[in-house]
C-alpha cells in the first residue's frame, strides 16, 4: 500500500489529494492511504511519499470540488482540514471519491460512512469554533490593543478571528493559538492576517495574559454575584463550560492582587 503524507495545512492537504488521485488512476483507489505529518509510527511494509504544497494543483482541486460537487461540499471539506482527527485527510479522500461520482447530492447521503464522518468532523470543528467565540477572553494592553490566548484542539483561530473581525472592526486585537504558535492579527479597520510566531515574539506575547485591570476584577465580581445559591449546579456548569476550556478564562482564575 502507498501512503501519501503531507503537512497539516489546507494547501498541502489539497495537493496531497491531487497527487494521490493521479497515482490512483494507474494503481487503484483501494491501494492508497492519506496521512498527515508527523507520523509517529510508520508501518513496515507500506511505502511513504511526502507531498509538498503546489498552488497550481490546489486551485485545480478546489475548482473541481466547487464545480463538480458543490460549494457546500467544499465548505465541509475545508472544515475537515482544520480538524485534529488523524483520519481527516483519508475521510476527505473517501468523500471525494463518492462526491465526484454522484455530484451535489453527496452531502445528503447520510447513510454512507465517509459522508457521516465528514459531517461529524465539520460539526466538531464548527462547535469548537463556536465554543471559543464564547469563551475567548481578551486582555487589554492599556487602551491600545487587546490580546487573547487560546488552546483549541482543532485549528479554529481563523474561524474565531473572522467573528471578531466583524464584531470589533475598529480595534487593534490579536488571537494567539498557544499550541500551534500562530496568531490572527487584526489592525484597526483592516483585514485579518495569520502570522506564524517566532520564538522571540512568542516569549514576549505569552506574558500578555498576566495583564489585569479593574474591569477584570469587576467581571469576577459580576460572575460570582450572578449565580443563584439555591440553584447551585456545578455539574451543569461543567457540562456547558468544560474545565479544559477554562484555562484562559479570567473568571476562573484567582485575582493576582490577592497573592
Amino acid at each position: 500500500m502507498r501512503v501519501f503524507t503531507c503537512k497539516d495545512q489546507f494547501e498541502d492537504s489539497m495537493t496531497c489529494i491531487y497527487d494521490a488521485w493521479s497515482w490512483a488512476l494507474k494503481n487503484g483507489h483501494e491501494n492508497l492511504r492519506l496521512e498527515r505529518e508527523p507520523i509517529f509510527q510508520p508501518t513496515l511494509f507500506d511505502e511513504y511519499t511526502h507531498i509538498d504544497a503546489d498552488m497550481e494543483k490546489v486551485t485545480k482541486v478546489v475548482r473541481s470540488i466547487q464545480n463538480k460537487i458543490s460549494m457546500e461540499a467544499y465548505i465541509d471539506i475545508f472544515y475537515a482540514t482544520l480538524s485534529i482527527e488523524p483520519d481527516a485527510l483519508d475521510t476527505i479522500y473517501g468523500f471525494l471519491r463518492l462526491g465526484f461520482r454522484v455530484g451535489a447530492r453527496v452531502c445528503s447521503m447520510y447513510t454512507d460512512p465517509h459522508v457521516m464522518r465528514i459531517l461529524e468532523l465539520r460539526r466538531r470543528v464548527g462547535n469548537e469554533a463556536h465554543y471559543f467565540r464564547e469563551f475567548a477572553r481578551f486582555s487589554a494592553m492599556g487602551d491600545t490593543a487587546y490580546i487573547c490566548h487560546l488552546e483549541p484542539k482543532n485549528n479554529v483561530i481563523l474561524l474565531v478571528g473572522e467573528h471578531f473581525a466583524d464584531r470589533m472592526p475598529s480595534e487593534h486585537w490579536m488571537i494567539i493559538d498557544d499550541n500551534r504558535r500562530q496568531a490572527v492579527v487584526h489592525v484597526k479597520n483592516q483585514e485579518n492576517y495569520l502570522r506564524y510566531l517566532s520564538e522571540e515574539e512568542w516569549l514576549r506575547l505569552s506574558r500578555s495574559e498576566l495583564y489585569e485591570d479593574s474591569y477584570t476584577d469587576m467581571w469576577r465580581t459580576f460572575f460570582h454575584a450572578i449565580g443563584i445559591r439555591q440553584r447551585e449546579n456545578r455539574e451543569c456548569q461543567r457540562n456547558l463550560f468544560p474545565i479544559w476550556m477554562r484555562k484562559h478564562a479570567v473568571e476562573f482564575r484567582e485575582s493576582k492582587k490577592n497573592n
Binding site: 445528503s108 447520510y110 450572578i226 447551585e232 451543569c236
Partner: protein, 485 residues
C-alpha cells in the same frame, strides 16, 4: 434626591445590582442578526452567544444588571421590595455604558440586559433607562445586543424610544392570572402589563411591514412544514385581543430623539419576551401552558420564560422559606414550551382540565406518546415530517436528517443512531423497514415502566441539582498510603 447613596464604588454597585438582577431569567442574546460597522463596536448573532456559565449552570450572555434597586413597589415575592432592608444603589448612565463597552471589548458579554426597580415613578425610571440606552448607542457607538425591561405604567413615548434603541424589549407577566397578581403584587394590575405588551407587539408588526417583512416574528424553520402548529395561519386568525394601537401613533414619531430616527433602526428586531414565576401560587401546569400558548399566538412573543420560585421573603401569602425551588416542574414546563414552538404540539394536547399537571417522572412528549399508543409504531422510512417529530427521541434535527437521508438510501437502526435519534426512547415507538429494534410489546404499562427507569437518573439530577456529593476515597478517612496493611 436623598435616596441615592453615592458612597459606593462602581465595583460595589455592580455587586449589589447584579445580585439584585440575578433572579431575572431571560439572558438570551438571540433573534437579532446585525453585521458590524467600521467605527462602531459590536454586532449581533442570530443564534445568540453565551459567554460564561455561572455556578448554577445558567448561561451568562448579557451584563444583567438593575439600573437601581430602589423601588417604591412592594411585590411580595421580590427581593427588592420597599419593605425589605437591603443595601440599595443606583448606577449613573455613564457607569453602565463604561461597564458594557469595556466588558464587551474583552469578550466577557454579548450585550446589556437593563432592568430596574421603580425609582420615584415608572415614567421617571423609564426615562433614565432610555437616557442610558441612548448614550450607549449614540455616544459610545455600541452596536451589540441590548435587552431592556419596560416598567409597567411608563409613558408610551418612552416605550417607543426604548424599543428603537434595544433589540429585545420585555415586560414581566410574573403571574399567570389576574387574581394571583393582585394578591402578590398589589401595585401592579394585569392591565398595566398587558397594555404595553399589546402595544409593543403591534408596533413590532407595523415596523416589520414597513421594512418589507411579514408582520409575524420568524419562528423555527420546522414550523413551516407543520400544518397545524400554534403559529400556522389558521390558528392565528382567532386573535382574541383587541387592537391596542401602535406606539408610533400614540407617541408621535416627533417625540423620538433625533438620533433614533437618523439611524433608521428597526423596532425591537428580536421581539419581546416575558417571564412567569412558578410555584409561588397554586396555578396548575395547564393554566401556565395555556397562558404561554395565548401569549405566543395573541402577542406574538418570541419567548416565555419560567422561573422556579425561590423563597426570599417571609409572608403569609407565600410558600414557607424552606420550600425547595420546583426545579423539575420548571424543567417539564420548558420541555412543553419547546414542544409548542418546535414540534407542532398544542397545549390542549399535552394537558387537559381533567389532568392539569405534568407527570414529573416522564417528559411531556413521552407522556403524550404513551397516551396515544394507537398511532405507533411508525415506520421511519415512510412517516411524514410531523409524524416523525412526535416520536419521543426524535427532534427537528434528526427528523430533518431522516427526511433527507431516506431519499438516497435505506435507513437502518445504526444509521438512525448516527443521525442523532435517541434510540433508548425511540425504539419503543418505531419500526425501520418493518422491523423493530427489540421485540418489545406495545403496552402502556410496560413502556411507562421502561421509560421511567431510563429517565430516573436525569430526573434525580434536575431535582437535586445543588446536592453536593463526590466519589468516596479511602484517604478521606485518614488511611495513609502504605499505613494500612
Amino acid at each position: 434626591m436623598d435616596q441615592i447613596i453615592t458612597g459606593y464604588t462602581t465595583r460595589e454597585k455592580l455587586q449589589i445590582l447584579a445580585d439584585a438582577a440575578k433572579y431575572d431569567v431571560a439572558c438570551t442574546s438571540s433573534g437579532s442578526d446585525r453585521r458590524g460597522k467600521k467605527g462602531f463596536l459590536g454586532n449581533a448573532e442570530a443564534c445568540g452567544i453565551c459567554h460564561s456559565f455561572a455556578s448554577d449552570g445558567r448561561c451568562i450572555s448579557l451584563l444583567k444588571i438593575l439600573m437601581t434597586n430602589h423601588c417604591v413597589y412592594d411585590c411580595k415575592y421580590c427581593v427588592n421590595r420597599v419593605s425589605n432592608d437591603v443595601p440599595r444603589a443606583t448606577f449613573t448612565p455613564e457607569e453602565i455604558c463604561e461597564l458594557t463597552v469595556n466588558f464587551y471589548k474583552r469578550n466577557y458579554i454579548e450585550g446589556l440586559f437593563l432592568s430596574s426597580g421603580v425609582l420615584k415613578n415608572p415614567t421617571y425610571t423609564m426615562e433614565k433607562m432610555c437616557e442610558t440606552l441612548s448614550l450607549l448607542r449614540n455616544k459610545y457607538r455600541f452596536n451589540g445586543y441590548i435587552h431592556v425591561k419596560t416598567i409597567p405604567g411608563a409613558a408610551d413615548e418612552l416605550l417607543a424610544t426604548a424599543g428603537y434603541l434595544a433589540d429585545r424589549i420585555s415586560v414581566n407577566l410574573e403571574l399567570p392570572t389576574a387574581e394571583s397578581l393582585t394578591k402578590l403584587a398589589p401595585n401592579k394590575t394585569f392591565q398595566t402589563i398587558l397594555d404595553p405588551m399589546g402595544k409593543v407587539s403591534d408596533t413590532i408588526a407595523a415596523n416589520r411591514i414597513s421594512r418589507g417583512k411579514l408582520p409575524q416574528m420568524e419562528r423555527s424553520r420546522s414550523n413551516q412544514y407543520l400544518g397545524s402548529s400554534i403559529f400556522s395561519s389558521q390558528n392565528r386568525v382567532e386573535k382574541q385581543r383587541g387592537y391596542g394601537g401602535t406606539l408610533s401613533t400614540v407617541g408621535d414619531r416627533m417625540l423620538l430623539p433625533a438620533e433614533v430616527q437618523s439611524e433608521n433602526r428597526s423596532f425591537a428586531p428580536a421581539g419581546q419576551s416575558t417571564q412567569m414565576i412558578i410555584g409561588a401560587t397554586q396555578e396548575s401546569d395547564y393554566t401556565l401552558l395555556k397562558t404561554t400558548q395565548k401569549l405566543y399566538q395573541d402577542y406574538d412573543l418570541k419567548r416565555v420564560f419560567y422561573s422556579a420560585y425561590i423563597p426570599l421573603n417571609e409572608d403569609a401569602l407565600l410558600p414557607r422559606l424552606d420550600t425547595a425551588p420546583p426545579l423539575l416542574r420548571e424543567h417539564r414546563l420548558y420541555q412543553a414550551d419547546w414542544l409548542l414552538r418546535f414540534y407542532g404540539f398544542h397545549a390542549e394536547e399535552l394537558l387537559t382540565e381533567a389532568r392539569p399537571n405534568f407527570n414529573e417522572q416522564l417528559d411531556p412528549k413521552c407522556d403524550w406518546a404513551l397516551r396515544h399508543l394507537g398511532e405507533f409504531p411508525l415506520d421511519v422510512q415512510t412517516a411524514s415530517y410531523d409524524q416523525l417529530l412526535r416520536i419521543p427521541g426524535v427532534g427537528p434535527k434528526s427528523a430533518g436528517r431522516i427526511m433527507k437521508a431516506r431519499r438516497y438510501g435505506r435507513l437502518d437502526f445504526d444509521s438512525l443512531k448516527k443521525m442523532g435519534v435517541v434510540l433508548k426512547r425511540a425504539h419503543y415507538f418505531i419500526t425501520c423497514n418493518g422491523h423493530r429494534l427489540y421485540n418489545t410489546p406495545i403496552e402502556e404499562a410496560f413502556i411507562t415502566r421502561q421509560l421511567i427507569g431510563t429517565n430516573q437518573r436525569e430526573n434525580w439530577q434536575v431535582a437535586n441539582q445543588n446536592r453536593q456529593y463526590q466519589q468516596m476515597s479511602l484517604f478521606d478517612y485518614g488511611i495513609e498510603m502504605g499505613g494500612a496493611v
